[in-house]
């Protein structure tokens, strides 16, 4: 080992040794690729795939309205697909919130070891393969699937319901996949909730609805915000779920990106679409950071 060095300089050496792998890894295979992607989104697409090294802001123009008209036209379809993706992602957030919120209270009121076991059960599906989980919903939702068969045999419907290949199917699939993401932050929040405040509120004469709206809900906002964000982000960029459960009827931005990379080979356009998603993610994360620091300052 290093001789003739002080404790500080030896420690410095250790730190450099420990940090170099991650610096190299994330620098070369994460930050540089992201940088190149940003550059690509401003380059002209080559005629047969690839790029021309010319300044070309019209990849964005095609999406939001200032195209280079002699080459490509503004197609409102891209913007509407993006907005549609935002809508589907928001609905996914809303539905998983409504599903997970009461469940968090249900688990938080349990006693050990039952609580740990139920938490384990809720976390476990996260580790099931994404495709397996989508496949399960294909089997449930398709016209000859479990749900239609069940409803028909009960005599509730005469014709199979057309549930697959719809926004409904995409949202159901995504809610199912992201449930652990929404549940865990809310649960962590509810678990810390001081239930004596609820009793205090009731004691002060507030009816249950008032107690919920004015005590419980405000105190669980951090968990709701955290869960919503980590569901919204992967939902917005998703392409596997709409590819299988949305079919050709429901297109999300992720499907556009996939196609521009693997089919039409217009990489700069795909990069621009990805940056649109990245931009939304950055805005949301910054909003959350500001919100939580303000809250922390208020508490301090």
């Amino acid at each position: 080992m290093a001789f003739g060095k002080t404790a500080d300089s030896r420690r410095r050496q250790g730190l450099v040794l420990l940090l170099s792998p991650v610096t190299l890894l994330l620098g070369v295979f994460f930050l540089i690729p992201l940088g190149i992607m940003i550059v690509y989104s401003f380059l002209e697409p080559g005629l047969y795939g690839g790029v021309e090294w010319n300044w070309y802001p019209y990849n964005y123009g095609r999406i939001i309205g200032w195209p280079l008209n002699d080459y490509e036209t503004f197609e409102p379809i891209y913007l509407s697909i993006f907005l549609g993706s935002v809508k589907i992602a928001l609905l996914t957030v809303l539905v998983s919130l409504l599903i997970c919120y009461p469940a968090a209270f249900w688990v938080s009121r349990m006693s050990e070891p039952r609580k740990s076991f139920v938490l384990f059960l809720i976390t476990l599906p996260f580790f099931a393969n994404l495709l397996v989980r989508i496949y399960a919903w294909l089997l449930l939702l398709r016209p000859s699937g479990f749900i239609n068969m069940a409803l028909e045999s009960l005599g509730l419907i005469a014709q199979p319901l057309d549930m697959l290949f719809s926004s409904f199917a995409v949202i159901v699939g995504m809610v199912y996949i992201f449930t652990p993401f929404m549940f865990l932050p809310i649960y962590a929040n509810v678990e810390k909730l001081d239930f004596s405040l609820v009793r205090a509120s009731q004691d002060l004469g507030a009816p249950p609805v008032q107690t919920f709206l004015r005590v419980i809900l405000p105190l669980t906002v951090p968990g709701i915000a955290g869960g919503s964000i980590i569901v919204f982000i992967p939902a917005l960029g998703n392409f596997i779920v709409p590819a299988f459960l949305g079919g050709s009827k429901v297109q999300m931005t992720g499907n556009l990106i996939e196609r521009s990379f693997l089919q039409s080979r217009d990489w700069p356009f795909g990069a621009a679409l990805s940056l649109l998603i990245m931009g939304s993610v950055v805005i949301i994360v910054m909003f959350q950071v500001i919100r939580s620091t303000r809250q922390n300052r208020g508490a301090a």
């Binding site: 001789f3 003739g4 002080t6 404790a7 030896r10």
Partner: protein, 369 residues
């Protein structure tokens, strides 16, 4: 040349808020071979920082640590011939007691038969024969403490560093361990540097005490020196309880070695001293146990204080009296409680006369802190 020299040690920290804290401000101590030295001070005074620097866990900003003439500045912790007993003992939870004690020998490459023999001896030394295969979590606090001691002493360090090792024990256990530690130090003949904030512990165990406050060395001396002749007001108050009076010397009797001091309020107090002359600004320190209750026949004079009792606190062996001695001052008196003796019936409001021997009053120069 001393054994272990701490030579004008400096260390400063940046707090998270950006303020600079001087943890060590020019501390110099010559540690003697085979002595029991205690670093005593309130929490945050820098004593633990000094211990960590001696051990090699932290660097000095300035100054040096010198062992028998050799600077340790560039010697890493694992190459210093010092061992530490940590405040929480820091026993390795994944190893048995024997493995814990044998760790240092194992790391040093001592072969198993030899190691086993020495671990056995160490277990015997701390009275834990038969506990070798247990895990630290299965032992009581006092037993863990012994394991930590054995683990350090088995390496025969030049210096054993102890970081408040008794603070986690209950009072009875702590007192027993104080005696045990002191006897152990005598028998192994190793220099102990012991950190504590407990002044009674320091007085009971040490050969010498270094009183530290705000990163500065306040006084270095034997327990009696520190207690009977504190160098300054901080030491007087931190080590034991003191009644302090500030004033100026107005009369000197060189023949008897007696001076008289007058406070700003005109109160006159005597003290035995040859170090101060007429007109010197001084502080007079009186320990509570040196004030005696005397009866009305005792003549008035500068070695007598009068007042009325404000509080009577019975603590068992003695009675603590808080006596209002006028001008808003309260004197603390430890009155020995014996069932047949004089004035066991002191009550709130009682008028008392307090006498003391002039030599029991200690003078320090005013303005030295």
């Amino acid at each position: 040349m001393g054994f272990l020299q701490i030579a004008s040690a400096h260390k400063a920290y940046q707090t998270p808020e950006g303020a600079l804290v001087r943890a060590l401000d020019d501390i110099s101590i010559d540690v003697r071979n085979n002595e029991f030295l205690t670093l005593l001070g309130p929490s945050g005074c820098g004593k633990t920082t000094l211990l960590k620097i001696i051990a090699g866990f932290e660097d000095l900003d300035g100054g040096d640590i010198i062992l028998e003439g050799r600077s340790l500045k560039e010697v890493p912790a694992h190459r210093r011939p010092f061992n530490t007993v940590f405040q929480n003992y820091a026993l390795f939870p994944h190893m048995t007691i024997s493995q814990n004690i044998g760790y240092g020998l194992d790391v040093a490459g001592v072969k198993k038969p030899d190691r086993d023999r020495r671990v056995g001896e160490a277990l015997e030394m701390v009275g834990l024969v038969g506990y070798g295969s247990r895990r630290p979590a299965q032992l009581s606090g006092g037993q863990q403490q012994r394991v930590a001691l054995a683990r350090s002493l088995i390496l025969k360090p030049r210096v054993l560093l102890l970081d408040e090792p008794l603070s986690a024990l209950d009072r009875k256990m702590r007192e027993a361990m104080q005696i045990e530690l002191k006897n152990l130090q005598d028998s192994v003949g190793i220099t102990f540097i012991f950190v504590t904030h407990d002044q009674e512990e320091a007085l009971a165990m040490s050969d010498r005490i270094a009183v530290i406050s705000n990163g500065r060395l306040q006084q270095l001396g034997s327990p009696t020196e520190v207690y009977d002749a504190p160098d300054n007001e901080f030491v007087a108050n931190f080590v034991g309880t003191s009644n302090l009076f500030t004033g100026r010397i107005i009369d000197v009797d060189t023949g008897q070695g007696l001076v008289t001091m007058e406070t700003g309020n005109g109160r006159r107090l005597c003290a035995g001293s040859r170090a101060y002359g007429l007109g010197d600004e001084v502080k007079l320190i009186l320990r509570p146990e040196h004030l005696r209750l005397v009866d009305g026949d005792t003549p008035d004079g500068p070695c007598l204080i009068e007042g009325s009792v404000k509080d009577v606190i019975f603590v068992g062996s003695v009675v603590h009296l808080h006596v209002d001695v006028g001008f808003g001052r309260t004197a603390i008196v430890y009155h020995h409680h014996d069932r047949t003796g004089f004035r066991n019936d002191i009550e709130h409001g009682a008028h008392v006369r307090l006498a003391y021997a002039p030599d029991s009053a200690h003078l320090i120069a005013n303005g030295r802190g």
